[in-house]
Amino acid sequence: MAQTPATPAQADEAQLDPRLVLDEMKKNGVTHVVWLPDSETNFLYQLMEADPSLTLVPVSREGLAFSIAAGLATGGQHPIILIQNTGLMESGDSLRGWTIALQIPVVLMVGYRGWTRHGVNTDSAATYTERFLNAFGITYYLVETSADAPRISIAFEEARRTQRPVAVLMADEYHGFNR
């Protein structure tokens, strides 16, 4: 069961400022956001849409995001994939074939549906997320609050260095899916 913060101050500390997430994207030269809306990362949408330096590429099933990102990267652009953990698991073969096999250095920003630090997980989407990433050998970084935002740059740097996809798990417990 997801817990709610005890006080307003605790809630503020627990939140992730979407402006910091956008700053991390821009700092790392992201040109295209290939995405499917989800509860955890919905907070980013309006900011991204208003930013003229980003092109949003909407998909209707998450697996499509991987081949699109591969084409963008092959053509010299710098995409990021923004999806939910449920869709990530749906996308296994596309992740394997279009990004790992083609050595595409892309960051997967994944809404961590069901994640809870303070409660007890009751959502199988959360149960299998990290197991899935481990099965594919994808390293990942947990981002819960604004203090964690610099970890996004660590993921970008690792993707560039290893020429592989690297995941960032957006586990904002208090104003995402678990709100």
Binding site: L64, T74, W98
Partner: protein
């Protein structure tokens, strides 16, 4: 229906300097193309993704024409790509689709409702401003210059003769002339792109 190789030979005359993603037509295109560094035969990384890959290339290289030879089996796996293409509407994207009504590389089993799917209608319904379907090569040849001469995105469904393979995958003759890594490295070099 017509032969894929015959169609590609006709297309070659109009190719110019377009980037070509040959998809399931790769085995023939490798013998026809005279601009291999602008070809991106990545094989079959994961079925259903060719259109997404070509869309990404088109968005990344807006000054270049990008021509894709998709297949109906691939597209059926990812029909949702069509509204994404239509929304972004890359004027440099030319989406051809080889429809042999079957999964040729697995022995020729029919795709769902193989003979009764109007892919051009689906594409138009998803928002492609232009969509065509051809089952006679002479008709395609007569209209190809016009199709390629206008801005995309455009969708072109082509009825082609199945080239069914029943030999186990490990025993098939390799048609690729370059490895996937070589293809991507030469493509990047062609466009001056860093790894």
């Amino acid at each position: 229906m017509f032969q894929t190789a015959d169609m590609l030979r006709i297309f070659h005359a109009y190719r110019g300097d377009a980037i070509v993603v040959p998809g399931r037509g790769g085995r023939h295109w490798a013998q026809i193309s005279t601009r291999p560094t602008r070809d991106v035969p990545v094989g079959d990384p994961a079925m259903g993704g060719h259109a997404g890959f070509a869309l990404g290339l088109a968005l990344a290289r807006p000054a270049e024409r990008v021509v894709l030879f998709d297949s109906e089996g691939d597209l059926l796996m990812s029909l949702g790509i069509l509204p994404t293409v239509a929304e972004l509407a890359p004027a440099n994207f030319y989406h051809f689709m080889l429809d042999n009504e079957c999964y040729a590389t697995t022995g020729g089993q029919p795709v769902p409702n193989a003979k009764n799917v109007a892919y051009d209608v689906i594409a138009r319904g998803c928002g492609y401003p232009r969509a065509f379907a051809f089952d006679e090569l002479s008709e395609l040849e007569a209209k190809l210059a016009g199709i390629l001469g206008e801005p995309g995105p455009v969708f072109v469904a082509l009825k082609v003769v199945p080239e069914v393979e029943n030999v186990p995958i490990g025993q098939r003759t390799r048609w690729q002339t370059r490895t996937r890594d070589q293809v991507l490295a030469e493509f990047r070099k062609e466009f001056g792109l860093a790894r």
